[in-house]
Amino acid sequence: MPDFLLEIGCEEIPARMIDAAETDLGVRVAKLLLEQGLLPTKAIVPTMSTPRRLTVWANGIFSAQLDVTERLTGPSVTVAYKDGQPTPAAHAFAKKAGVDVSRLETVSTAKGEYLAAKVTRKGRRASEILAETLPKELSSIYWPKSMYWRKPHERFVRPVRWLVAMLDEETIPLEFDGIWAGKTSHGHRMLFDGDVAIPRAGSAYVDALRAAKVLGRGEREQQIRKALDAATRRIPGARWREDRSLLDTVVNLTEFPSVILGDFDPRFLALPEEVLVTVMRDHQKYFAVDDADGKLLAHFLAVLNTDGDREGLIRHGNERVLRARFSDARFFWETDQKRSLLERLELLRHVTFQKDLGNYYEKTRRVQRLCSWLSEIIKQSGMAVRAGVVHKAACLAKTDLTTELVKEFTELQGIVGGLYARVQELDSTLPEATRFAIADAIYDHYKPESTEDGVPRSMEASVLSIGDKADTIAGMFSLGLVPSGSKDPFALRRQANGIVKVIAERKLPLRLGDLMRDARAGYQGSDAEKKFVDEVKFSESVTTFFRERVEFYLKDVRGHAYDVVKAVLAADADDVVDALARAEAVKQVLHMPEFLAIGAACKRMRNILRQAEEKGIASGVTFHALPDSAPEEKNLAGYIDVNGPRVEALRKKKEYGDALMLLATAREPVDAFFDKVMVMVEDEKVRANRLALLRTLLKEFSTIADFSEIVTEGKA
């Protein structure tokens, strides 16, 4: 039972890709070993990664596949022998099976006597199988962006420079992208000289690398955390600012990490914290340091890919770079103040929004109009929103795109506008509170930028956030630029997710269909309109798109079951708040036996109605009691007459829980109906009447959720 080891040595793999690739490699190799019969059971194989290598190993695999003996069946005996002599058919079979004709056997089957041969296939050696099958797995590792360097069809994330592939002490004769596997790895670029000989597969590998100053991911993270703590302790009361994604990045940029604490001129603290932290985090990959109250201190922590900074040169260099970056930011900040945001509004005419949709000035005007309309709707529903604040914020929201600071740090768009709006007294007639509300709405209007990101802090910012995104989506969809698969260059999905989330969490009375229609109307009379697809096509594509987004929100963000979400959205997917409320209500009743029965009944009704329609069988519009109507039929009709309006009343009040509880009482009359009454009878009149009854009933049931979508298998 030898140990297996594979290391792919590569030039620096992009930090953002390493974790996924390591997992991918592990899954692929485990699957391969299992499929090839080299692992006894499904197992997770250990993996390791650094910027310069992906490694996988499996201890105690089979050194060879087991021999397999099987019986091959050949031609029938009547064909195989003529006058007691083997025919060419028999010879051909013997040849195929690799045995002499004399050793062929006969077997009896239901169809008669047949020739058979026992064949033993020798299990192949692990080394041979791995050499043959691993290259394909390696070339199948998924990379968001790959390259070629030697031959166009050989693609990997960066050039592969060495391979280690071993079974115990033996090399596996494996070739990948022109590199033959050996037993030689490489240590840390700067901290270790020369090659690293791997004595054997197994734990010796990790030990050999550690000696060559290369640590695994877990160890590196631990070492970085410890070093960050230690460096921060030198400033009493200070804490480093936890940042998961930054930590993941620096872990994957190092093979042997250490940390230095650097300082910057405290005068830079006059710049907004957002700017300072962005420079440190996004541009320099430094951790920020806070005091005990969470206030930013004039220090930073840099993670190095080396074991220390004895001469202080590295610290000195990093401080120099940060000083230049901060000076730039301060220069931009000061330059930007020479023109107020109000003056910048005109400049937006020169900033393209999208090549066919015109410039940001035009967008600003559209968003303002749309936001006024949204504010009005929200107000009418009795919610508080300061329409004036929304209007002014919408006017200035995009002006920061013309600032030097945003040109340099695009990730600060919105935030910079908000900060500038605060420091510039844009309208001295307004009370300070109003001015700040405008500034904060600008600051927040890109939120939420991801599923995890929170919604804007104020109602005004929420309206602006929705209006801005709706305008973009409506414009793009009108041009037919619909996201498909991995293609979503304008991040429309993210923006639509944002709209859904803000509507849901602020419980806004906005219907998606209306929103998109209003947003599209904003383009009326513009040049862009000439390139628009027609209303129907727009409405279809945008409805499908938002339905998926609402589905995503209910399922992935709110955790509702797939079938519940489908059932709820089948009734209506336009009103997010309502869909959410219905999903909550359905979830509450789903476990009740009544609803499993009702779900089954709904499926049945739907099938009957569909078949009737397919066959062109006429249905009545409403049910009328006929002289020969069955009692169960009349009973059910009576039930609907009494309870239909009651359910409807509850539904109107959005008391979905109560409405569903009432619907649950339908189980008895429905079951009785199906037990006793046949719908598709010969008598046309009776049949049409019964179909009408089913239609009415199904409609009643489906206003909250389409219960025929509920998965009942295993629950009933």
């Binding site: 910027p51 962006k145 590295i314 120099r320 770079v321």
Partner: protein, 355 residues
């Protein structure tokens, strides 16, 4: 640490050291290209040499002009015209990263005392329809070099590919000399008197004057006119070259019915065709576009369109250039069969690259 530490390299010594380093590794030392370019990549020594199958190694300093980046000489970190040391290795040697790190040693950087990281940075130049993948090389948090494996240039898949190393000379010099402003970099030091000439002494005036010109004074109408004239001439040349191809079927396909002499004649006509001057015209357009852009004279709707116009020229020249190289190769070998290896190279180049 004083700005004029006697031991740190001057700006010109830095350039000399890097040039000597790459010359010793077989590079042709080219001189800066004498038409305005926005980056060393645009010089023909990169843009054209990376096309086609011929191996090549070259290093050169390239002053790179980016009108919109001008700051009137007031910003200590930003320049209208900065200098790059550009190295092209085609095909990339296997130890290219080690070679690069060694070059840092050659300019006095003891890597054992510093922190070096290769961080993902993929390069793309839409006006050249060119892109590659690679890294920004970070030295103590400072980006000192762009390290790129070219994948496509002029819209063509490359085979073999080239590696491009672009050293940011001002940054590296400021780092070595430990100065906070580019203008304080010591450019030259008189070995006898010790007299120092600073970067500011050499370059401040043109930073200021070109900023004034690019942002305030450049005559928009005339610049447009220049652009259109250069563009028109470049297009004409490309058309003429295209017409040559039409009359004379590709030599590589060994046109039937043509005599060997005809083919040779056609190859000669092609190889003397002025594609290199056509590329200069394209570079002129690119630079004029940058001036117009800095001047704020390119409207929203125009911008994308103008970039596409420059790109069309670059792509056209790249295609023609590859064709010209092929006919030259064919003319040289018109009497003897093509070596099998070259044939294979051509075939692989034409085969689609799997994604």
């Amino acid at each position: 640490m004083s700005p004029s530490k006697p031991k740190s390299l001057t700006f010109q010594e830095l350039i000399l050291r890097l040039q000597a380093f790459w010359a010793a590794r077989g590079c042709v030392l080219q001189q800066p290209y004498d038409v305005e370019v926005g980056a060393g990549t645009m010089a023909p020594e990169t843009f054209l040499r990376v096309l086609g199958p011929k191996p090549y190694k070259v290093a050169y300093v390239q002053p790179s002009r980016r009108p919109a980046d001008g700051r009137y000489g007031e910003n200590p970190n930003r320049l209208f015209k900065h200098m790059q040391l550009q190295v092209i290795l085609k095909p990339p040697p296997e130890n290219v990263q080690a070679l690069y790190l060694e070059s840092l040693g050659a300019i006095g950087i003891d890597l054992r005392q510093h922190d070096i990281k290769f961080e993902e940075d993929n390069w793309e130049a839409p006006t050249l329809s060119a892109w590659g993948v690679g890294w920004q090389v970070m030295l103590d948090g400072l980006e000192v070099t762009q390290f790129t494996y070219f994948q496509q240039c002029g819209g063509l898949d490359l085979f073999p590919i080239s590696v491009e190393l672009t050293y940011g000379l001002e940054r590296i010099a400021a780092f070595l000399q430990d100065v906070d402003s580019i203008y304080d970099i010591v450019w030259a030091r008189d070995p006898v008197t010790g007299h120092e000439v600073k970067y500011g002494d050499v370059r401040l005036a043109d930073e200021l004057q070109f900023s004034v010109y690019n942002f305030e004074v450049a005559d928009v109408k005339k610049a447009w006119k220049h652009f259109e004239l250069y563009e028109a001439e470049c297009e004409e040349l490309l058309e003429q070259y295209g017409a040559l191809g039409d009359q004379n079927p590709r030599l590589v396909s060994q046109g039937k019915g043509k005599t060997g002499t005809d083919q040779l004649e056609s190859a000669r006509t092609k190889s003397r065709f002025p594609l290199l001057p056509a590329y200069d015209l394209c570079l002129k357009c690119s630079h004029l576009f940058n001036i117009l852009d800095a001047r704020g004279a390119i409207s929203v709707t125009e911008r994308v369109g103008v970039i596409a116009r420059v790109r069309a020229l670059a792509v056209g020249i790249a295609k023609a250039w590859v064709d010209q190289q092929k006919s030259e190769a064919a003319a040289e070998k018109s009497d003897e069969p093509e070596p099998a290896r070259e044939k294979r190279a051509v075939k692989e180049k034409l085969s689609p690259v799997g994604s």
